[in-house]
């Protein structure tokens, strides 16, 4: 994560690719991306799905930010953040806003069936007080890896 230092980072854990609604969480964040960028933030989605699954999902939903595969060892990143659901083998629906120095400044765990939306993230980014306008140093381009 240290390569993202210097600008705010949003880490969005979600249970799985391919949830059966069109307004799913990652699609929403994709649509809100210009606003995240205005606040200089980079967003990463992360689930236990594998890289090829992410690649297909990302392509189908036209996502413009990376999805990380917490696939092997499964859920290790989620466990490090305390948001792994061992019983289901998936992550929580959990959001972290990390500041430019790498400190977690806001986090939220949603009931797993409830998409938390983006309002909490935007409030947290605004509270960081990062001057809007300049693009983040890492622009979040790229595909699943």
């Amino acid at each position: 994560m240290h390569e993202f230092r210097g600008a705010p980072l949003i880490l969005a854990f979600y249970p799985a690719d391919w949830s059966p609604v069109c307004g799913d969480q990652m699609t929403l964040y994709n649509q809100v991306l210009p606003e995240f960028r205005r606040l200089r933030a980079t967003i990463l989605g992360i689930s236990v799905d594998g890289a090829w699954c992410h690649s297909a999902f990302s392509s189908q939903r036209n996502l413009h930010f990376p999805l990380l595969a917490d696939f092997e060892p499964k859920g290790a990143t989620a466990q490090a953040y305390g948001v792994y659901r061992a019983h289901e083998g998936t992550t929580e629906r959990a959001l972290f806003v990390i500041d430019a120095e790498g400190i977690i400044r806001w986090s939220y765990v949603s009931p797993v069936g409830v998409n938390p939306g983006a309002d909490g993230i935007l409030q947290a980014l605004e509270a960081l007080g990062t001057p809007p306008g300049a693009p983040a140093t890492t622009d979040g381009k790229g595909k699943a890896r």
């Binding site: 069109c22 307004g23 929403l28 649509q31 036209n62 996502l63 765990v109 938390p116 909490g120």
Partner: protein
Amino acid sequence: MSLHRSSLQPAVHAGDHTAGAADAPVTLVEYGDFQCPHCARAHPVVQEIQRRMGDRLRFVFRNFPLTEVHPFAGHAAEASESVAERAGSAAYWAMNHQLFAHQADSSRALADRHLAEYAATSGASGEEVLADIAAGRFTERVASDFMSGVKSGVNGTPTFFIHGERFDGNWGDVDEFAAALEDAASSPEAAR
């Protein structure tokens, strides 16, 4: 972990598209996307609830086009705004209905030339509506609706708010949805 509650902002205002009595004991706000199949499925559910509740329900529709997955949704929203400005509230609601009713006619059912047809059926000039779209007259209005939705905690389409609080229940079940609205209508002091 932080506490977090999603509530409508801004509150319903004069610029909104509203149907039903202004002093109704409950207001239902929908953020929707005219190309979203779930929104099309919700449309007759809302109509049924409007029929059941009559003057006791005020309904508001705001735009939340997910254009990255629904390429026609942006123009469809702009067309509805153009119809509203040029032909009034009744025409707006007719257009809103046309868009959902025709959404699944074909993969291009919401392409511009069809938007012009639906606008004409709704009582506006199709040519004028297309000119408004080409000029981008309502892009800012639609973007403003979208950002208000994001800040209110809209988490997909459709998202509903009852008394300004996000409704996370099952809108697909008309009885359950109506019961939630009836509950809210009988406790108007909860209005925020």
